[in-house]
Homo-oligomer: 345 residues x 2
């Protein structure tokens, strides 16, 4: 056997939050690319567009008029994937044709009255307002629903259909697959090792400093060892925090700060408003508020699709859909990490 070098040799890496393996192949970036090229994001987004249903004062699809909001603005999604009153399919089903009730609420949250800003371009105080609204929503909707998913699809390449800066909040009467899996994994680790998986992980990464991209006294942003997307990021507090609404005032301000720094690095990497899907995972809510959830640690996942440039993304297709997630460079290869790390801030 030759000596194993993780930067040179293909290998599998374990994702402890999903109990699954990722195929890591170094140097596949070198292959010629004659495939799909994405349109770069629109450069000229008007600050106010009279036809944009997310702008202040405009009328939405259902006839409602938006207030002249000056900070964040939350409203019910006009085309919700989840509604509070869906009837129950009933029991007594064939094991191969099983269905269950799905109830919940879907909300849209505008970050800012202007269409031509994004989180990294907003003032720190404005980002703090976004975080405070997230806290409020988790607190409020989390009373009833076991899972409140806050997520942002940024950029047309990530299926975002409106350039106005916004995120969504989908709450459900069930624990969706991903958080259910993450809950099981974190619980098992806690039972075996007596400490939260992600606290130990943050400690290790803070020491190694191999994959850390931005850090502060309260927060850490790291390309996880098990990253599948080229510039994937895990953002987590250094303290043991279960949910967004457990953050202190200082931690919220620190979060605004580190988000701005991280997202500015993203934008600078390919000199483009960096697309991604991101979202928060914290301890489940609703009926789970009464349970012991010490195994949980609050964190955000950032999944950006770009691979080689502002216009060439990574396709998670054939092999990835049918067999296993695969990446074309290691998370530590200079093309991936260092370029982001040293990226002008």
């Amino acid at each position: 056997d030759a000596r194993f070098d993780p930067k040179e040799h293909q290998h599998l890496r374990y994702n402890p939050l999903r109990d699954s393996w990722i195929l890591v192949s170094a140097h596949r970036m070198k292959r010629p690319w004659a495939g799909q090229v994405e349109k770069p994001p629109e450069e000229q987004i008007p600050r106010y567009d009279p036809r944009n249903p997310l702008c202040p004062g405009n009328t939405r699809a259902n006839g409602e008029v938006n207030p002249d909001y000056e900070s964040t603005f939350v409203f019910d999604n006009d085309f919700p994937a989840l509604q509070p009153d869906a009837p129950d399919p009933g029991a007594d089903q064939h094991p191969l044709f099983q269905s269950k009730a799905a109830r919940g609420v879907c909300k849209v949250m505008c970050f800012h009255p202007w269409s031509d800003v994004t989180l990294p371009l907003m003032k720190k105080e404005e980002v703090v307002k976004v975080i405070e609204k997230w806290v409020e929503l988790v607190e409020e909707i989390g009373i009833t629903y076991p899972w409140v998913q806050i997520f942002e699809n940024k950029g047309a390449v990530m299926g975002c259909s409106n350039p106005h800066p916004h995120c969504q909040v989908w709450a459900s009467n069930f624990l969706p697959n991903e958080p259910a899996l993450s809950d099981r994994c974190q619980r098992k680790y806690y039972e075996k090792h007596g400490e939260p998986l992600l606290l130990e992980y943050a400690k290790q990464e803070a020491e190694k400093k191999e994959r850390v991209v931005v850090e502060s006294s309260d927060w850490l942003a790291v390309v996880p060892y098990w990253a599948t997307w080229p510039y994937q990021m895990l953002l987590l507090p250094r303290r043991h925090v279960l949910r967004l609404n457990d953050l202190t005032t200082e931690e919220r301000e620190g979060l605004a700060d580190i988000m701005k720094r991280l997202l500015t690095k993203y934008d600078n990497l390919f000199e483009v408003s960096f697309p991604y899907s991101m979202g928060w995972h914290g301890a489940p809510t609703g009926p789970h508020l009464k349970e012991n959830n010490s195994h949980w640690q609050l964190h955000a996942h950032y999944y950006p699709p770009l691979l080689r440039s502002a216009t060439v993304k990574k396709f998670m297709v054939g092999y990835e859909m049918l067999a296993q997630e695969q990446r074309d460079l290691t998370p530590e290869q200079p093309e991936a990490l260092a370029s982001l790390f040293y990226c002008y801030l």
Copy 2:
């Protein structure tokens, strides 16, 4: 409670091959779409392009010259994600930084000497040749490797970087996540019910006739009850067959026939060369050849990305990545199934 109507009311459906749930929301297709629009596939692909590394007689990236092949042509991928000799990372690792050896081979298989054909446009005898080559490869590579993944990425929107009709074969020294999960699910079902999951499923669907799109005496193509992609398809033999190389001569011919019919329906749906990723799942090979794999049933998955038209796809992004797969129409809604079913053949 109102009466539950699966075509009207949001609900969850269980995917028994992946032990997970899909959020099914009817009528989300009605929301306005100002998001990304895909380029329709190139109309004018030259039959022979002197610069295309997949054409007969041309020189590839590594300097090798393709033969003047007249049917299928298989060669080793010049930028393999898996290689036979990758060294072992070694044991004794921190539980949060685990890696494993990944060894294997990656092959490319051209379907036809011409760049301007696709499987549905090829003659039936030519498609039979493709199937026979698949059989040969599974047989040959399957002697050593536990998993041989045959997959086709079709169309630029599915990350395909070369319009020449081709598929790939990636074989690995490990069972990837997806087949490992499918193996566990099929085994559990078999242990509990005493018959293969997919045989019982095919029987049920053949009776219900609600989701069947094409059928023949040997084969069945059905939009699975748990489909996540709008026009997802499951193609499976009616007889209990473990692997591609267990198909009889008649079944191979029947397969060529049903593939041509299915893929023609796809092409006719939006009058475009229909993009998809597809691949075969059969009982594991290599060391598993000696085991009892009666719980397995051979099948192909087709995952097409299109949602509304030839240029608007379904984005599996924020909620889907962070929480749970979600679809915007039920598999039985006329927009989905019937249009495909009645589509001119």
